[in-house]
Amino acid sequence: MAKSYWKRAFPVYLMILPGLLFFIVFKYIPMVGISIAFMAYSPFDGIGGSEWVGLRHFHRLFAEGDFLTLLRNTLMLNLFDVLFFFPAPLLVALLLNEIKAKRFKAAVQTILYAPNFISWVVIVGITILLFATGSGGINQLLAGWGFERLELMTDPSYFRWVWLLQNVWQGAGWGAIIFLAALAAVDPLLYEAAAIDGANRWRMLWHIALPALRSVIVVLLVLRMGHVMDLGFEHIFLLQNSMNQGVSEVFETFVYKVGMTQGDYSYSTAVGLFKSIVGLIMVLFVNRLAKQTGQEGVF
């Protein structure tokens, strides 16, 4: 029995091996490398030779004026995201679900999914071009109508809205897929029964479609909470400039700057660790909360 198990299992372990090696080398060894967050790491001395400094980098992080700015910026972007971005794909899915003409629906889906395949570099680039103060299309349009030209990319007061609207533009259609799949699983008999009872389509939307999405919404919210510290490095990094840093600097961009630009590996790793731990605690906490309120949770 044991012999035949290994004969059968050996090729399967072999299949898993390359992927497993990837996770060990590029995901788990770096987790061990987090130890430099507690050292005064210097590349010359290496991990073995650098001096341990305990929690010094964490004291520095919490004592520094930057910390409150980073926290405020991160929380504000999360707030914008959960309040305004999160419902967008849901709305798109509910709308698409009501369209019965198949070809029209497929065409609209292609159009709404397309932005998902467009990179942040391109999205930020197009925004810059559309709103270039002198020659940008939208600003010329505004000027032509007698409005003031918008300093969209450099005036810090626009930053959060630009970030949010770009997120909506890229992700609202794509994010709808998961809700659409859940809606497709709704028993058509429910709609027929509702129609016999005299319900119109507004009431069906409210009493059939929305409740069908409840568990998906909970799961996605739980997953979203695990990402409070991950707002998308690339997107924010590309939107940053010297004028808007006061509102655009978040933990992710700070980690990059301290580590790669200033070369302070230990401090950067300490900030990164703080960020990862907060994310982990959030996802475990929200998952438990979901279970306690009778939902399934994610794991």
Partner: protein
């Protein structure tokens, strides 16, 4: 009662179609704007303001890029990163997901947890960078290929997809005497074509749009299109960068043509796979 309901339903349909058309227009207009400017002369761009249909027509922007060594080298780098990267991604992910889908495999739960935990916690930028450095992979495409070789999320979703394949198939194959490799390539892969095609597209999109790992790990002459484009669009904008220059280096048509060429490949490919991801390949994702 019936009449009132149908009035409400008509209003409902108007609202639905109105909103859907508005959303589609908002999704389309930036793309159409870029396309229009890419074929326009500079004079028209500077004088006409906002428009979606150019009156002039020129290929100057595209021709300029074709003869621009920096752009062509970035294009080659992007193709190399994407083609090899996606092959590595899909090979490793498929093998691993298939292996983990075997319910009889000992240690399966531990292995699955090893993959899943990386979704919740990560070592961070610098510790990963130090590993890449220690392996001597800096300034090499291998750094980009290997650091993103398997997406834990994709592996988990694909695993649940494989788990849905009826076990009888596996049993009958075993009676035929074929081993796991033949079972995978002759039966499972052809059966799972929609899922594999979908994930190939996701990986391709991720590789083609890669920006961060390129600036982190690669040398200047290895930079892909996204990095080149960023220099063209963001750093070259006199109002945003603090560069000493006060004017653009590139014509509007050149900048817009570069956007078109960078975005076009994925936009041409994804509609062919749309019906697959509509069918709910992703739904397994929600249940871990």
């Amino acid at each position: 009662m019936r009449v009132r309901a149908s009035g409400a339903d008509r209003a409902f349909a108007i609202v639905v179609y109105g909103l859907v058309l508005a959303a589609s227009a908002l999704a389309l207009f930036p793309m159409l704007y870029v396309l229009a400017i890419s074929f326009s002369t500079e004079t028209e761009y500077l004088t006409r303001g906002f428009y979606l249909l150019p009156r002039t027509f020129t290929l100057e922007g595209y021709l300029y890029l074709m003869s621009h060594p920096g752009f062509m080298s970035a294009l080659r780098n992007s193709v190399t990163i994407s083609v090899v990267g996606t092959l590595i991604n899909i090979a490793l992910t498929t093998l691993m997901a298939y292996g983990l889908s075997k319910t009889w495999l000992r240690g399966r739960k531990t292995l699955h947890f090893i993959v899943f935990f990386t979704l919740l916690f990560s070592g961070g930028i610098i510790p990963t960078y130090l590993v890449v450095q220690a392996l001597g992979l800096l300034d090499s495409f291998w750094a980009v290929w290997l650091t993103s070789a398997v997406s834990a999320f994709n592996a988990i979703v694909m695993r649940s997809f494989f788990q849905a394949v009826p076990i009888e198939l596996e049993e009958s194959a075993r009676i035929d005497g074929s081993g796991e490799w033949r079972l995978l390539f002759n039966i499972i892969v052809p059966l799972s074509f929609p899922a594999i095609a979908t994930f190939t597209l996701f990986y391709l999109a991720q590789n083609w749009n890669t920006y961060f790992s390129a600036i982190l790990y690669l040398d200047n002459d290895q930079m892909p299109l996204q990095v080149f484009l960023k220099q063209m669009l963001v750093e070259d904008d006199p109002s945003i960068s603090n560069a000493s220059s006060v004017a653009y280096h590139y014509t509007p048509a050149a900048r817009m043509s570069a956007i078109v060429l960078t975005a076009l490949p994925l936009l041409l490919i994804f509609p062919f796979l749309q019906r697959y991801f509509n069918q709910g390949v992703m739904l397994g994702a929600v249940k871990g």
